[in-house]
Amino acid sequence: MQHKRTTFRHRGLPYLLLAPQLAVTGVFFLWPAGQAVWQSFLREDAFGLKTSFVGLANYTKLLHDPQYLGSLHVTVIFSLATAALSIVSALVLALAADRVLRGPRVYTALLVWPYAVAPAIAGVLWWFLFNPTIGILSYALRALGHDWNHLLDKTDAMVLVILAAAWKQVSYNFLFFLAGLQAIPASLREAAAIDGAGPVKRFFTIVAPLLSPTTFFLLVVNVVYTMFDTFAVIDATTEGGPAQATNILVYKVYRDGFIGLDLGGSAAQSVVLMGIVIVLTVVQFRFIERKVTY
């Protein structure tokens, strides 16, 4: 690991400098994570009186729990749909912003602020728009013949949380796409134009391949975002319902642990989630390393 050619010769000082971070990390990150792993091998009886070691039983139970598998299914749909929606719309906007000569900065300013909106607030806003009785969008949909009700209809509920989650994420993706587009040398596109490629052909042969690292990066980041940060979107809107239709994995950990008080099962779910984050982080870092060596 890198350090400076010349370093200070103190013995105690580096430990002192690291102490606050390591203390917080140890107490609030590593210890709880270790606890989660340990808990995942235990089971409490119905009255919380006796705790026994059950090995991998909590995990095998999870794998045979239709609710958990359903939650996994919901999570995959929610993640991919949110990522796809926010990435595609951000790409379209970034292409447009890269094209306009006048006012790209103004457009950028007007497009990026939703990044600052809390996921919970985003959820509340969209929930209000689609409110079955007074929401303006549900009203419009009714006029078009669709009787919207996300409190009862599973698909409606899923669409609602996807829209709310994607709406907030577009600004982030937009910024990265715009940066990626602006990093493509103008000479490349000019060369392609001289070679007779029209705008559409240029996009697919020149721009899209050069943007693919950014797209991949955003895909990973967006999947992480939808898997974890969208907890607030779900909790502020559907609370996982109706009938588990939007009960994503993170939300289920919370429900089972705090409301269902199934500590062992919740811990096993936490450990599975940690595994998923670790895989995603490794993928992301692998990718960044590759980018650096290019």
């Binding site: 971070q21 990026v112 728009l129």
Partner: protein, 282 residues
């Protein structure tokens, strides 16, 4: 611009305008809702033009008492949010810059181990280890306190890596010159490193402030006492009404108040915000 195609230019502007409108629409509706009396929501659909009750609603919400669910004024929740966001942002910056300094400019046993201990926090978002972390905080007696709201969130591998990256670009000779000039590690940190990292600190601050302000799950768990709730977490309590319709004008006014500070930070410090966002992801 490669060629002049009026059609494409117009299309680009049209797409952008549509995007701006789509992005702004939910907030506009929220704003409109916050300016109408709550009786307007009993029947029919949300109005599309602002009403006249705006000032009254905001005054009422800020002072408290209007909502059936929130026992505290939103002004207090805003203050709590501000304290939490500042504590998280400044705390993360402080502990990260110190640990990055130790990792880059010192060689000591266990350096590698410390680096990995910090790195691993990237893989443990709070949502994942929520139950045991809650238990630790409860055991430490930090429920319903500002420390409980902020301290467990201030360990940040991202900020540490950012500072490490920044420090690695500082030429070796600068520290050597400082040592010849009689500056020890603390003086070098104070006189050279911190001033040189100013822009990075500011950019990071913008991102971390938003991160702290927008926390939701954590404040919900840690605060059972409404006087410590934050505005983002509190809005859920306002909307959770078991009997009858929620007071939509109050909820939307609160939403507007909850969005305003971080959105302002992003708009006013757009350049720093973009820098912070792009660099923390490197």
């Amino acid at each position: 611009m490669v060629e002049n195609r009026r059609f494409l230019d117009i299309l680009a502007h049209a797409v952008l305008l549509l995007g701006v409108l789509a992005v702004a629409f939910p907030v506009y509706v929220a704003f409109v809702a916050s300016t109408h009396p709550s009786s307007d929501f009993v029947s029919g659909v949300v109005p599309l033009l602002p009403g006249s009750e705006g000032l009254a609603t905001y005054r009422e919400v800020l002072a408290g008492g209007g909502s059936t669910q929130m026992s505290v004024p939103i002004a207090l929740a805003l203050k709590n949010s501000l304290i939490m966001a500042l504590a998280i942002a400044l705390g993360k910056i402080a502990i990260s810059i110190l640990s990055a300094y130790a990792i880059v400019w010192f060689r000591f046993p266990l350096r590698q181990l410390a680096f990995w201990a910090i790195f691993i926090t990237l893989m443990l978002p709070v949502e994942v280890r929520i139950v045991p972390t809650f238990k630790v905080v409860a055991d430490l007696g930090l429920l319903n306190s500002y420390a409980g709201l902020s301290v467990p969130l201030i360990a940040s591998a991202t900020a540490t890596f950012l500072f490490r990256q920044v420090f690695l670009t500082i030429p070796d000779e600068l520290m050597e010159a400082a040592r010849i000039d009689g500056a020890g590690p603390i003086r070098f940190f104070r006189d050279v490193l911190v001033p040189l990292s100013q822009t990075n600190i500011a950019a990071l601050f913008v991102i971390l402030f938003i991160y702290g302000w927008n926390q939701y799950l954590w404040p919900i768990l840690i605060t059972t006492d409404d006087s410590f709730t934050t505005v983002v977490a509190g809005i859920k309590r306002m909307a959770d009404v078991t009997d009858g319709e929620p007071r939509w004008n109050d909820i939307m006014a609160t939403a507007m108040l909850a969005m305003a500070p971080p959105a302002l930070v992003v708009i006013v410090m757009q350049r720093l915000f973009v820098k912070g966002l792009v660099e923390t992801e490197k």
